[in-house]
């Protein structure tokens, strides 16, 4: 590649890792004032905090987009990492813009759990499945985020559409049965994962609604 004049461009801005379930995407914004320019970007990552080398991310050399998937390079979540990106335009390029120290174990967002609802006349059973850790390829064996965070909890909120009331319950195990519900009533459930520790963003699950069955005794009358 033709060497460029470093510092000829302002640096990219807002460089940060967006991480969910250990999928770690480096993202940034174009340099100030150059949002419309036809720039390309090149990414390097620091093999890990405590080591020596900056390495090129070959798939993110001279790219147009403003993101780069570094999940493979940052997959040992008990280590910390840095990454940097520079902007290039013809023979000019910016200095490197560098992330802060990224610690996947503490900073990754825990995605919403899978929520399976089944119902009968007066009860709803809720089966929760913790999200899976990101994996390189589908053949790789799955690891649940629950295996990584043994203190993972679920905050289940239940909305009774008839009484217009909501109540919640904090649970650690995967199954929960709501019994003695009102028959023929719509209930909506939303679940959020929670891990004690540093403040962490959490994505609640999509609201799912289910109607309890009609009261069989009144149906026979």
């Amino acid at each position: 590649a033709v060497p460029c004049v470093s510092g000829g461009l302002p640096k990219p801005t807002n460089i940060t890792f967006f991480s969910i379930n250990m999928r770690n995407i480096l993202q940034w914004s174009p340099p100030e004032g150059l949002q419309e320019a036809e720039l390309t970007y090149t990414v390097q990552y620091f093999i890990r905090y405590g080591q020596k080398k900056w390495l090129n991310k070959s798939e993110c050399r001279n790219i147009n987009r403003t993101c780069c998937d570094l999940s493979v390079e940052t997959s040992d979540y008990e280590h910390q990492y840095y990454a940097k990106v520079k902007a290039i335009w013809e023979t000019n390029c910016s200095k490197w813009a560098e992330t802060g120290r990224f610690y996947p174990f503490l900073e990754t967002q825990i995605g919403p759990p899978e929520v399976a609802l089944s119902t009968d006349e007066k009860s709803i059973s809720i089966v929760l499945t913790a999200p899976e850790k990101w994996k390189r390829n589908p053949e790789e064996s799955s690891i649940s985020m629950q295996q990584i965070y043994s203190n993972l909890k679920y905050n289940v909120s239940v909305y009774n559409a008839k009484s217009n009331r909501t109540w919640s319950q904090c649970v650690t195990n995967r199954t929960l049965v709501l019994s003695w519900l009102e028959p023929d009533t719509l209930y909506c459930v939303r679940v959020e994962t929670f891990v004690p520790g540093p403040p962490r963003l959490a994505q609640p699950s999509e609201k799912q609604c289910v109607r309890t069955q009609k009261d069989q005794t009144s149906a026979l009358k």
């Binding site: 905090y49 405590g50 120290r101 610690y103 403040p199």
Partner: protein, 155 residues
């Protein structure tokens, strides 16, 4: 909710308070650490620590933080958020250390010795750096320390 470092039990410290204190200053403190090719709390220091060792090790580490890492740091911490968070961490470390009473019996010598060797790995790496750079680096690694301490926190 309390810490259970092997036989040593510590009440009256809420780990969430320490996390929130450190998180408020993490970016500021870690940005000042330019020696990214050195990690003081390496895996060899904290990995596979037995319960029995943990009381000795945490006591040595926290005393070092109080006596050496935090020393004079408060004078340099111009940013108010850092000063406040620093005070929260330091005062809670004082509480933890005051409640750690590791056994001094002879048969515990091999355990305490193993913990001491781990601590010396950390201390040697610290001493190879300029004191201020080392203080900044050790302070920036409190997230690694709290992550390890969380394993001994009984919810």
């Amino acid at each position: 909710q309390e810490f259970q470092f092997g036989p040593c039990r510590v009440e009256g410290v809420v780990l969430q308070e320490l996390w929130e204190a450190f998180w408020a200053m993490k970016d500021i403190v870690q940005a000042k650490d330019n020696i990214t090719n050195v990690r003081l709390l390496r895996k060899e220091v904290l990995q596979n620590v037995s319960n029995a060792e943990s009381c000795y090790l945490i006591r040595a580490l926290l005393k070092f933080y109080l006596n050496t890492v935090f020393k004079n740091y408060q004078d340099k911490a111009a940013d108010f958020r850092v000063r406040k968070s620093f005070s929260t961490l330091a005062n809670n470390f004082v509480v933890i250390v005051s409640k750690l009473q590791p056994s001094q019996e002879n048969e515990m010598f091999s355990v305490s010795d193993s913990a001491r060797r781990r601590f010396l790995l950390f201390q040697r790496a610290f001493k190879q750096l300029d004191i201020e750079a080392a203080q900044t680096k050790a302070f920036g690694e409190v997230d690694i320390l709290l992550t390890w301490m969380e394993k001994f926190y009984q919810l």
